[in-house]
């Protein structure tokens, strides 16, 4: 994974310029922080220190306050997302059907915690609220693929499938 501002492919990273434009667009509006964070996350995939600092300077909002907002809302992420974004539903129906055990198995299998990304950049793991497939509970999504009626034993096979893609 490339870190904000530096890119491994040798091409110029245009994201910084785009971030400046986003900040400029909202700069003088009230409540600018959340929309700027949204668009910045769309641009980078997550909100690392470097991005938050630039927003802090651009909007004249203390970095500690921005960090507070980013860690308050689950939709914002401090960590890069993987090539395959795993989201395990912890909504009521899935939870009752044992989705937290599925989540635990994924944590063990991937060696990462919720909100983190594997070192090879392949998988990131998140818990989410209802995905609207309660009939299939417990449910997880990997990018746009939905997996339902999961058991703990299914986890390994599914992960391997993506690993070998």
């Amino acid at each position: 994974m490339s870190v904000a501002g530096e890119c491994c492919c040798g091409n110029v990273d245009t994201r910084e310029q785009k971030l400046t434009e986003i900040i400029e667009k909202y700069k003088n509006t009230k409540g600018a922080l959340i929309p700027v964070l949204h668009e910045a996350q769309e641009l980078y995939g997550y909100l690392p220190l470097k991005v938050q600092k630039k927003i802090s300077e651009g909007l004249d909002v203390p970095l500690a306050e921005i960090y507070g907002v980013v860690t308050f809302y689950t939709q914002f992420s401090l960590n890069a997302k993987g090539k395959y974004k795993i989201q395990v539903c912890l909504g009521t129906a899935c939870y009752v059907k044992g989705s937290s055990k599925v989540l635990d198995k994924l944590r063990e299998k991937l060696g990462i915690n919720v909100g983190e990304c594997t070192e090879d950049g392949l998988f990131s793991l998140d818990a989410c609220r209802c995905v609207g497939a309660c009939g299939l509970a417990p449910v997880m999504m990997i990018n746009d693929d939905v997996y339902g009626r999961l058991t703990v034993d299914d986890v390994e096979g599914i992960i391997e499938k993506y690993r070998n893609k």
Partner: protein, 583 residues
Amino acid sequence: METVNITIDGRKLQVPGNYTVLEAAKQANIAIPTLCFLKDINEIGACRMCVVEIQGARSLQAACVYPVSEGLVINTQTPAVRESRKVTLELILSNHDRKCLTCVRSNNCELQKLAEELNISDVRFEGETYRLPVDHLSPSVVRDPNKCILCRRCISMCKNIQKVGVIDTSQRGFKTIVSSAFNQSLAEVPCINCGQCITVCPVGALREKDDTDRVWEALANPELHVVVQTAPAVRVALGEEFGLPIGSRVTSQMVAALKRLGFSKVFDTDTAADLTIMEEGTELLERLKNGGKLPLITSCSPGWIKYCEHNYPEFLDNLSSCKSPHEMFGAVLKSYYAQKQGIDPDKIFVVSIMPCTAKKFEAKRPELAATGRPDVDVVLTTRELARMIREAGIDFTGLPEGHFDDPMGEATGAGVIFGATGGVMEAALRTVAEILEGKPVDNIEYTAVRGTEGIKEAVVEAGGIKIKAAVAHGTGNAKKLLERIKAGEAEYHFVEIMACPGGCVTGGGQPIQPSKVRSWVDLRKERAKAIYEEDRNMPIRKSHENPKVKMLYEEYFEKPGSHRAHELLHTHYTQRENYPEAR
């Protein structure tokens, strides 16, 4: 302001219409418990300790934010109110690290006091607790999140008043904590070490880095010549630690206590403040005469210096190159004094008692080592000195008179007023005006620069020159003033900035008064009053008339701004990057 008629606990009252229920109750002498509330700083109704019953309201209301209105009927002591307050307090206590016996704030803790007042004999809730690492990497401020009750007073002080904003809440729900961005240590973020967060913390979650052990160790070392100096603001606040009224002057007992503790010599930082005025006054006159960078901005407050280095590097050349007074004194002690007394400077251990936590960081600056060793070895706050006095079992209020030691045991009223906002400016004007006039000036009280207004301005005419001066206290006000200067909206020759609101008398190292007191008594005014009293009682009130300072120039420095003075008494500043890891 129009008044309204209200009823509290059956008593009919007339109160100003802009009052909150809490203020109205205060006027009627009815006590409502508070915890997160700190007047003018944190009025957010978050902790729910001050709930009251309002007739017609659906639920209990927070008195600290509920406005009065005509005909309002309030009950502050119903069973529902009492039960609610107790449950709230027990829930706060259930996740509090209740190591009261060994807590720095024991006996001066607002939470402990509340538990006593609300008669909490048992905490019924045993639930999840969090235990997080303590941040003790900063040389000035220690943060213990396990004692934090999330009142947010520190955040408000740091962000809204000081405009520093290095702490805020992060995470949510039960996991909510007060932290820096990305959980960095205060040592890694643009914290200015002012310690104002400590003075507003109701509990022991924020405290100064305790350096008393290093001083005890030095005092016990027969090889060392351990000397101490005390800043002007310490003497008008130390008494509060021993139960004396706010604004008591305890100079004499303080000196006597320091001698009892075993310091070889007790010096007055005020003497060095006079020296600072000679150097800084000369610097101002030179810049005025030779078209140097103006305005000249004072450099006594290390919190302000770090704020400037982080946020206003374009003003670094405006800063006076003078070291702060205690650092000057340290350099003089390890050079002139060592030579005069025939003591090896390596054996001199200099302790500074300061109203300030930022001075702990300052003393560690590598550039403040004029003789190849730190000018000052340890900085203790007023609170730490009180702790040492208690630990030694000294009966503070019963002490006989004590006097500062020679060969530098004399100071002036000008040196004393350094402790209040506007004081450095006034002290400098007393000397500069006389130099410009070429004769003694009678009116030496520059009242325009005194007082608690955030930004003060004055124009002083002397010797045909008009000096435009401005004073700001609290870095929030400093920011406002600097932005005005930057925008060309204001022009000055001389600017005094102190990092703490009120100046050193209400510095981050001063005795902590609970919200109950501090919300209704202006500490800045009461302590400053004592400072100006001390000034009026001094036989000499102008720095340039201090015989010890004259002696220093005759015997050692030759004249202000000399080569030797520059070597020992002046310093330089560097731009500091905010959050450098973001690169």
